[in-house]
Amino acid sequence: MYSFEYEKAGSVDAASQAIKSDDEAKLLAGGMTYIPTLKQRLASPTKVIDLAGLGDLSGISVSGGTVTIGAMTRHAAVANSAEVQSAIPALAKLAGGIGDPQVRNRGTIGGSISNNDPAADYPAALVGLGATVKTNEREIAADDFFTGQFETALNEGEIVTSVSFPVPEKAGYMKFPNPASRYAIVGVFAAKTGDGTRVAVTGAGEAGVFRVAEMESALGSNWSADAVAGVSVGQGDLNSDIHASAEYRAHLVTVMAKRAVAEAG
């Protein structure tokens, strides 16, 4: 680690100001990505601004067909929330399948989506459910939020405050975990919502989470595992690394999609 200043954020606005006034300052949420980055000397911020003390950023509420999760809410809190479990069981399951207990007890939804690791789980839920990201500046639709590998629509100093998920008619999430890290090699979130059918894939795409239109329309007319069984995604834009080739990932997308739909019921 390089040395840096540590500051506990007093408010979201103060944190935002601090980031805006210093190009090299950085926010810290659960630290599950950022602290290893610091330890490996891959980042040298001047200042780290910790959001952990901001109580109003964490918490879960369900009202009017919407589940709202504060940015600083830990994965374990989402996984164990009775409200989430009953409103969107697939979302609770997704959170409960992130990493390991230590990671789930530290990592946050805000940190996860802001980081937009192409193998992270939450982006699949956000896009798969058509969620809305709320920041200190505005609201951003999930489809517009994730702009590429480790890239988001967030501006400099813009802070995620919460994420709102519309409660779907049914939804399922199935993940093929990387056996070492437990991130998704492929994760597929399939949902039948008031707005139509959505299928979002994480882990596989070079540019991060993406939707599969062909599966969505197949499911739109026939919500069943069989409907997606024959649909395969092209390998062209898929990741290929030491853990899985693009070809295998493409295969898994279909298998996981089938299983996600089957799980949704």
Partner: protein, 797 residues
């Protein structure tokens, strides 16, 4: 006695470990210590131009920056190799110098170029990044199979064809002849992939030099502290042993990787002596991945000749073994005498020939890793035997049974130099078949099929050689050190016992097992026995812990020292009880006069020896002093066994495969082992369980992946290198056959590696069996879901 030999005594050391009270090197701090950070090569192969240290030296908190130039100026030696191989042509192996900081060239990513010594870890690391090394990259050779190719980049000018040595064993003519008349020949090509040891505790050291006394102290994560002192003191640092103390406190796993006298330890010692200070270094995980000696890494082809009855007639093996960029201390031993000598397996194959070429590549050096050579041999043999069974249609258990060495054939001399001690291979297999419910397998396979899964069963019948010995023969074969072990059994005046062993536990439970042995031999309650290891200043010279040797060799030294204690105790008791020593018998901790109730407890004898008021002290008159004794009850022994011992077993693995994804689940695992007499069954089971986990790791998860272009270790972190986890393993069913080893007084065989050796081929054989319908006859390791899925795709096509 419930704490003696054979008892399931809970580990004495566990309370300390599980309450966080272990004492590891990184827990130790020396007053005024500095910290070291190493500047490492980012290139697999490059010429070093200038090394500009000015910026680093001026950086905050930096005390000193040292490079290969100072190493050369101070005439510090290179790292020694502990075993020399004589090549087939009679020439010695090519053994290039391994300077402790690179000179002229770097040869793998991670090769140390300079060291920064500073007042804090962060200051040292900050400054290390300011050392400016101008590298001129040169072509590198990374993959094992590429090293011997024409035109491959050369790692060492003195090693043409990147060959360190070309070596063979066995009778080639006899083997060739066996193939001529063969009814069937099974052929196999296989890769035994490179593994990263990943001990839980990374390597660490503190070197401390007292300029006034001239004493050098090294705290290091070492499996063999005396050997480290000998090798570093005599060959690298020219530091005399009486002025050099090596302390290895608790060690958090090693699996072989903590045997060797690493460059970092030498650099710390040299710098501390040069500067008159104390310096600490602890590897981070990334550093461990690229600098701890790696394991395995063979590319082989093999052929097995069979007659019409499935009897093995001959075996031919050709192996290329990757040594990495330099020869690590025991690197050359692993693919030779720890490997090709095991090709008889448990079978009577009359003609065996193996050729091994050891090559250099621009990768981390390779050395012994749990099993060391024997996993590679067992994997090759048990794969080809299983393949032969499939090809000939003989049941895999049956084909092995037809070829077993029988119990009445021991001692059995194999065609590849070893003489096996004892075993009941057939009985062991029978137990495993029962444990695995082999006869019920077909029904279980059908059951799996109905739930859409492919089920397979695989066998592996490992045999290995542990407790390498005797020293004289090892010396003829190239060992540059002895292979005995030492012990001191010291009675304290009030009857408790302190045992000093030259071996050093790094997780094996010596504090318990050795105490059980002493408790059993001397009749002292186990809580009155303390085992001390790991400090060259308080224990006699010993060879350390590796190759599953500690109990059979080190435990035997303890027995011999106990024998001496009892012999002396008998004389003391005879004097006090006014009897003849011949009439004294030792029963349950008491010396008693045969046929009487006159007796003395051994604790009383010890007290008498230290408070010798009624004692046969020398009088000075030779006529009276024939039976005189010195005071004290403190004996030493060094034990050099007559032979290795040969643990063996029968392993049966069942897997279920998800055909949609290729995911392999181990659903059943049975392991029956013959590790001779058992001192503590719980500890043996623990060793077997852990060993199997590591063997499963190689089969399904682990593999060091290098980028062939850049020479970077791509699987260089826990996020990318998959270690097996608890939920990857089934409940392992274990059993034992106990045929005592005749070559040591305890009748024991090693148990630390057999699980790792036996598990890997059992898992792979089970996967291939499960994929039989797809025509799959081979699969590479690690058999990841994608590898399995691809095999199915190709098989289907």
């Amino acid at each position: 006695m419930t704490t003696g030999i054979g008892a399931r005594v809970l580990r004495k050391e566990d309370r300390r470990f599980i309450t966080g009270n272990g004492n590891y090197v990184d827990d130790i701090n020396v007053n005024g210590q500095y910290y070291a950070a190493f500047v490492r090569s980012p290139h697999p192969h490059a010429e070093i131009g200038s090394v500009d240290i000015a910026g680093a030296k001026a950086s905050d908190g930096v005390i000193e920056v040292l490079t290969g130039a100072e190493v050369a100026a101070d005439e510090i030696g290179g790292l020694p190799v502990g075993w020399g191989i004589t090549q087939t042509n009679g020439e010695p192996m090519v053994e290039p110098a391994w300077p402790i900081l690179a000179q002229g060239r770097v040869r793998f990513v991670g090769d140390a170029v300079a060291v920064v010594i500073a007042k804090s870890i962060d200051a040292a690391r900050d400054a290390a990044e300011m050392v400016n090394v101008s590298y001129t990259p040169i072509p590198a050779v990374i993959a094992t199979e590429d090293a011997p190719k024409d035109g491959a980049p050369q790692v060492w000018d003195e090693a043409p064809g990147n060959t360190s040595f070309d070596w063979e064993i066995g009778d080639k003519a006899a083997a060739d002849q066996a193939f001529e008349g063969a009814h069937h020949v099974t052929k196999l090509e296989l890769v035994n992939q490179r593994l990263v040891p990943n001990a839980m505790e990374p390597r660490a050291a503190i070197a401390e030099f007292n300029s006034v006394s001239g004493d050098l102290t090294l705290h290091a994560t070492a499996q063999a502290p005396h050997a480290i002192r000998l090798l570093l003191g005599a060959f690298v640092l020219q530091q005399p042993e009486h002025k050099f103390r090596v302390i290895s406190p608790d060690v958090g796993g090693g699996f072989g990787s903590k045997i060797y006298p690493y460059a970092e330890y030498a650099v710390l010692c040299w710098a501390a002596r040069r500067m008159g200070c104390a310096i600490k270094w602890t590897a981070d995980r990334s550093e461990s991945f690229i600098t701890d000696a790696h394991g395995r890494d063979h590319v082989s082809e093999a052929e097995l000749a069979l007659d019409a009855d499935g009897k093995f007639l001959g075996l031919r093996v050709n192996t290329v073994a990757n040594m990495g960029a330099y020869l690590s201390a025991f690197g050359p031993l692993v693919p030779t005498f720890l490997y090709a000598t095991l090709f008889a397996g448990q079978y009577t194959t009359p003609a065996i020939y193996a050729h091994v070429k050891a090559v250099f590549t621009n990768t981390t050096p390779v050395d012994a890793y749990r099993g060391a050579g024997r996993p590679e041999a067992t994997f090759l043999l048990e794969r080809i035997v299983e393949k032969a069974a499939k090809e000939t249609g003989i049941d895999p258990a049956d084909i092995r049974r037809r070829n077993f060495i029988q119990p009445d054939q021991f001692p059995y001399a194999t065609p590849v130099a070893l003489t096996y001690d004892s075993g009941e291979y057939g009985a062991t297999l029978d137990k495993a078949l029962a444990l695995a419910d082999y006869t019920g397998f077909a029904a279980r396979r059908d059951q799996s099929k109905t739930s859409g899964k492919l089920r397979g069963i695989g066998f592996s019948l490992p045999i290995e050689a542990t407790g390498a010995a005797p020293s004289a023969i090892a010396g003829q074969l190239g060992a540059r050190a002895g292979l005995y072990e030492s012990a001191e059994v010291r009675f304290n005046p009030t009857g408790s016992v302190t045992v000093f062993s030259g071996s050093h536990s790094h997780g094996q439970g010596h504090a318990t097992t050795f105490a059980q042995v002493v408790s059993d031999q001397l009749g002292v309650p186990i809580e009155n026995v303390e085992v001390v290891q790991g400090d060259t200043s308080n224990s006699q010279f010993g060879m350390g812990t590796y190759g599953s040797r500690s109990l059979s060799v080190g435990g035997s030294a303890i027995v011999r020292a106990c024998d001496k204690i009892l012999a002396k105790g008998r004389k003391i008791a005879a004097h006090i009880l006014e009897a003849s020593a011949d009439d004294i018998e030792f029963v349950d901790g008491n010396f008693q006069v045969k046929g009487t109730d006159k007796a003395m407890n051994i604790a009383e004898v010890a007290f008498a020896a230290y408070v010798p008021h009624n004692y046969p002290l020398p009088t000075g008159d030779p006529a009276q002093d024939e039976n005189a004794l010195e005071p004290g009850l403190n004996e030493q022994a060094f034990f050099d066994p007559l032979n290795f011992n040969f643990p063996n077993g029968a392993y049966i693995c069942e897997v279920e495969i998800d055909p949609d994804t290729g995911v392999v689940q181990i659903v059943d695992f049975s392991a029956v082992d013959d590790v001779g007499n058992i001192i503590n069954p719980m500890i043996v089971e623990g060793q077997v369980h852990g060993g199997i986990a590591q063997g499963v790791g190689q089969a399904l998860y682990e593999g060091a992946v290098y980028d062939k272009e850049t020479g970077q270790l791509l699987s260089g972190s826990m996020m990318d290198y998959t270690l097996p986890r608890a939920d990857n393993l089934p409940m392992i069913k274990t059993g034992t056959t106990e045929t005592p080893c005749p070559f040591n007084p305890l009748g024991v065989k090693g148990c630390g590696e057999i699980g790792t050796i036996g598990a890997t081929p059992a898992v792979i054989n089970a996967i291939i069996d499960a994929l039989g319908d797809y025509g799959v006859t081979d699969i590479s390791m690690p058999a990841t879901p994608e590898v399995v899925w691809r095999a199915m795709q190709e098989g289907r096509a």
